[in-house]
Subunit: 215 residues, 4 copies
C-alpha cells in the first residue's frame, strides 16, 4: 500500500513535470520572436536605430514572459493543494497547456500590430483562456475530491472565487477595447480589486509565507 | 539491496522523464508553425482577413496538440504499469519518440495542403506509427517481465488488445482516403468501437478512477 | 508534519526544475542561430569558404553556451544552500530566467555585428543582468531566512560578496568599451581578481570538493 | 548526515536532469530542419515530387535522431555508475552537452550537401567529439572517485576501454573520407569490432539485463 502510494505519487509528478516543461518551453520560445535586424549600413547609429524599432517587440517579450511566469506561479499554487488526479484533470490540464502554448502567437501578432483591437482581443483572450482553464481545473479538483485532506472546504472555495479575478479582468479589458485599445489595459489594474471583492478577508501573499513557515 | 533498488528507480525515472520532455517539446513546437501574417495595409479588416486565412493552421495546431496530448496520456498509462526496463525497451521507446518528434512536419504539411491525400496519409500514418510503437513497447514489456508484480496477466492482455484500436483506425482511415479524403477522418470515430470489440468487457475510463481511489 | 515537509520539498523542486528547464532550452536554442549556408556552387572550396564566414557565429555560440553553462552552475551553487522559498524568491528567480532567456538575442546580434559597441554593451549587459538577478536572489534568501539551517552566516556573507564579482566585471567591460570594444573583454579577466578582493580567504573551487566529500 | 546525503542526491539529480533536458531538446529540434515544401502547382504528384526531394533530409533526421538517442543511452549508462560529482565533472559534462547541442548544425549541413567531404567530416567529427567528451567524463569520474562504491575497478576499466570504440571509428571514418565519402560510413561497422578488441570478454548487452534483474 505504501509502495503503491509512492508509485501513484510518481505518476502525478509526471503530470506536474510535463506541465512545467511546457511552461518552460513556451516562456523560452518567446525570445525567438526577437529577430536580429539586418542593417545595410554598418554604423552604430544604424544599429541603434534598428534596435529602437524592435522596442515594441522587446516590451511584448517582457510582458508575455512575466504573464506566463505569473500563470506558472498560479499553476504551481493550485497544484500544491492537489495530490491526486483522474482522467478529467489530465484533459483539463491539457487544455490549459494548449492555451499556454498558443500564447507566443498572439504575443507576436500584438507586438507587430499594437494599434489593432483584433490583436489586443486575441492577446487578452488567450490569457483569459488560460485563467479560465485554471478555474475549471480547480473546480474539477474540488468536485472530484482530488485535494489534499488537510485543505479545508473554506480555503478551497476562497481559491476558487479568487481565480475568477483574472478571467473577469480579461473580459473587462476586451469590453473596454471597443471603446479604445489604449485605455483597455487599465482593466488589468482591476485584478487585485476583483480579488478583494470576490474574497474579502484574504491577504493574497500570505499562503506562500505560511507554507514557508510550516515546511 | 534497498539502496540499489532506489538507484535503479532513479534510472527508470530518467527514461520516463526524457520521454516526457520530448513530448512536451514537440507539443510546444507546434505553435511555431503559426507564423504571424505580414499585412501591407494596416487596418482591422486586413488583419482579420489575414487571420481568417490562418484558420486551417490553427485547427491543425489544436488537433495535433490534442492528439499528441492523448498519446502522452497513453504513454503515461502504460508506463504506470512498467517498473523496470532493459535495452530493448529503451530502443523501442526511442523509436516511439522518433515518431512523436516527426509529427510537427506532417502537421504543417497537412494544414498547408489539406486537399491532399498524400499529406493526409503522412499525417495519419505518423500517428499510427506512434500508436504502433506503443503497442510494441507494451508487448516487449509483457514478454520481458518488466511489468509491476501486482498487475495480473489478464489486465496485461487487455491493455495489449485495446492498444490495437488506434493503429487499426489509422489503417482504416488511410484505406478510406483512397475513396475520399473528406470521409477518411470518419475512421477515427471507430477508435472506441475497435476498443470495445477488441476488449469487450472494459469501461476505458475506469482504470484512472481506480488508481485515484486506491492511491 | 513529515509528510508536509516532503510535499513542500516537491514544490521547491518544481521551482528548481523549472529553472533548469529554462536554462536547458536557452542553451540549446543558441544553435538555431547557426543557419546552414546556401551555396550556389557545389564544390568543397565554396562550402569551406561559406563555413569559414560562419566562424564568428560559431565562436558566439560556444562562448554564450559556456557563459550560460557557468550561470547554470552558479544557479545550481546558490540553490544548493536554499531549502525553502516564498513569493519574493519566485519573482526574483523569474526575473533571472527572463534575463537568461533574453541571451540568445544579444548573442545573435553581437556575432553578426562584432564590430559594434552597442551590440557588445547589450551582450555584456545581459550577462551582467543575470549575475545581478542572482545577487538579488541570494540577498533575498539570506534576508528572508530561506537558507539551510547548517549554513553559517559567515559563509552566506562570503557567497553574497563573491557574487558581486561578475556584475562588477560586466560594468567595467561596458566602461572599457567606450575606450575600445577590442580591449573591453579584458575586464572579464578581472572576475577572479574581484572575487579574491571581495572575499580574501576563499579558494573558489573548494566548496564543490567539500560537498563531494561530505556526501 | 542522512539528510545531507539526500540533499546532495537532489543536486546530482539536477546535473543528470539538465543533461536529459538538453538531449531531449536537441533530439526534438532536429525536426525543424524539415521545412514544408512550398509547391506552386496544387496536385498530388507535385506534392509527392516535392516530398521525394526532401528524402535525404528525412534520412538525416532519422539517423541523427538515432545517434543522439544512442548517445543519450550511453550517457545514461555511465551516469548509472556515478553517484557524486565535482566541479570538474560539471564542466566536462557541459562540454559534452555543447557538442550534443551543436549536432543539429552539421546534420542540416550534411543532409543538404551529402556529396561533400567537408560536411561529412564535420558531421562525423561532432559525433566523435561527443563520444570523446563522454570518455573524458568517465576517466575523470574514475580518477576522482565519483563512482558508486559497489562498482569494481575491473568493470570501471572495461567501460573506459569500450568507450574508445566510437571515437576510434569516427577517426577511421574521417580518414577513409579522404579516399571516398561513399565508403567512409563503413567505418561505423567497426564500432562493435573495436569494442570487442578493446574489451575482449564482454557481451555489451548484458549489463542492462543484469541491472534489470537485480533491481
Amino acid at each position: 500500500m505504501d509502495n503503491q502510494a509512492a508509485e501513484s505519487g510518481l505518476s502525478f509528478e509526471r503530470v506536474v513535470f510535463f506541465s512545467d516543461a511546457v511552461f518552460a518551453i513556451v516562456i523560452t520560445l518567446l525570445v525567438l520572436e526577437l529577430k536580429v535586424p539586418h542593417i545595410t549600413e554598418h554604423t552604430e547609429s544604424a544599429l541603434r536605430h534598428a534596435l529602437f524599432e524592435l522596442f515594441p517587440r522587446v516590451i511584448g517579450f517582457v510582458v508575455s514572459f512575466l504573464i506566463i511566469g505569473l500563470m506558472w506561479i498560479e499553476h504551481h499554487r493550485i497544484f500544491r493543494y492537489i495530490d491526486n488526479y483522474n482522467c478529467g484533470l489530465l484533459w483539463r490540464n491539457l487544455v490549459l497547456l494548449l492555451c499556454v502554448s498558443f500564447v507566443p502567437f498572439p504575443t507576436a501578432l500584438f507586438s507587430e500590430n499594437f494599434w489593432s483591437r483584433t490583436a489586443f482581443i486575441l492577446y487578452t483572450g488567450s490569457f483569459g483562456a488560460v485563467a479560465t482553464a485554471k478555474l475549471f481545473i480547480w473546480r474539477h479538483a474540488v468536485a472530484s475530491g482530488l485535494l489534499k485532506k488537510d485543505l479545508g472546504p473554506e480555503l478551497a472555495r476562497k481559491i476558487g472565487r479568487r481565480s475568477l479575478a483574472v478571467p473577469l479582468s480579461c473580459a473587462l479589458a476586451i469590453a473596454l477595447s471597443f471603446v479604445s485599445v489604449l485605455i483597455a489595459p487599465i482593466a488589468f489594474a482591476f485584478i487585485p480589486v476583483f480579488a478583494r471583492v470576490l474574497d474579502p478577508n484574504t491577504k493574497q501573499a500570505t499562503d506562500y509565507a505560511d507554507a514557508a513557515e510550516s515546511a
